[in-house]
């Protein structure tokens, strides 16, 4: 059997057909399958995405603050040791004011609409704004100043 195999091998080598040649672009096609498409590198898209997100955040911030108004709250209380502002715009959480001469002041940016507020002297006594215009009584019968801010045109 092996003799026949050897003889056949020799015959096939001498007279048999050669193997078909590989196409020239075979390796190029293999590379094409190994590297389908160049991907956008992380060092390119990450800064671009970061800048885009920052721009969107800035734009949203601008848009939100566009309709707000700057309001200065002022109370003349030279003998008070501590004054805070408490109102519907800060959830009635007393917000410390700072001294400016004999006055206590606080600057805030507020949305348009009706706001209620009082000053809290020395952490105890609530006082409506003596220079404020309107005042209303709350459910407990305590007076609260009313601040009305009209809508301003967005930027």
């Amino acid at each position: 059997m092996m003799d026949d195999d050897r003889l056949f091998k020799q015959r096939w080598k001498d007279e048999g057909p050669s193997l078909p040649k590989a196409p020239r672009d075979l390796s190029a096609k293999v590379w094409g399958r190994l590297k389908p498409r160049p991907r956008l590198r992380a060092w390119v898209w990450r800064p671009v995405l970061g800048a885009l997100l920052l721009s969107v955040g800035y734009w949203l911030g601008q848009r939100q603050s566009a309709g707000q108004s700057e309001v200065r709250f002022r109370l003349s209380a030279p003998r008070a040791s501590q004054v805070a502002l408490s109102g519907s715009f800060n959830g009635w959480q007393p917000q410390p004011m700072h001294r400016e001469g004999g006055d206590w002041v606080l600057d805030l940016r507020l949305k348009p609409g009706r706001h209620h507020y009082v000053f809290v002297l020395n952490g105890k006594r609530s006082l409506p704004d003596p220079e404020g215009g309107d005042a209303e009584l709350n459910g407990s019968g305590e007076a609260q100043s009313v601040l009305y801010l009209p809508k301003t045109q967005a930027l």
Partner: protein, 204 residues
């Protein structure tokens, strides 16, 4: 015969991302791999597909290379598996299209489309007849035949590549030779003139 020189260092370089090293390996082995695929698949498009898949798979599994192993045999194993997969797919497609003609009993016809027209013209009449007969062998015989007579591999190498026992490879090759002679006779070729007819008749 594939040359195992430097394969190891090229594979090591390729597995570390050296594309030139992988290109050199492809340049060296693509002829053998495509030859094997074309003989087994008998169809140029399928052979190209199988050869491409073979190299892609080879690249993706470079890290599995065991130093000391023969690269050509590893590639032939991958290529053969890809060809078998393609043939199975083709068979399934044929079954789905309700064509149940068994491949082994296919009529003698120019089934092999792996040669380009220029290559076909270069083949002598005898070579053309032999190629035609070889391409009409059943799939298992084609595999063994190309590994033994075209790629010049030893029996134990063929056994390892095809996943058969060496004895089964010997028997399979004997069957393949017998089938080839039968096909050559059916093609009207004088097998005796090729120096094999008497021996075969005696064995029979």
């Amino acid at each position: 015969m594939p040359r195992p020189l430097d394969d190891e260092s090229l594979i090591r370089a390729a597995s570390q991302g050296d594309e030139q090293a992988f290109q050199r390996l492809m340049d060296h082995y693509q002829g053998y791999v495509f030859g094997l695929c074309s003989r087994v698949c008998r169809n140029r498009a399928d052979a190209e597909e199988a050869a491409q898949e073979c190299f892609v798979s080879f690249y993706q599994h470079l890290h599995r290379w065991r130093p000391g192993a023969k690269l050509s045999n590893w590639l032939y194993t991958i290529a053969l598996n890809k060809c078998r997969h393609l043939l199975r797919r083709r068979k399934l497609r044929r079954m789905l299209s309700l064509d149940f003609s068994p491949e082994g009993q296919a009529p003698i016809q120019p089934a092999d489309t792996t040669w380009s027209p220029a290559e076909r013209a270069e083949q002598s009449q005898l070579r053309g007849q032999l190629a035609l007969a070889a391409s009409n062998l059943p799939a298992v015989s084609r595999e063994l035949f190309v590994l033994r007579y075209d790629l010049d591999l030893e029996m134990d190498e063929i056994a390892a590549i095809t996943g058969r026992r060496p004895e089964a490879v010997r028997v399979g090759l004997h069957r393949a030779r017998t089938q080839l002679r039968g096909l050559l006779k059916a093609q009207g070729l004088d097998v005796t003139a090729w120096g094999l007819g008497d021996r075969e008749e005696k064995e029979a």
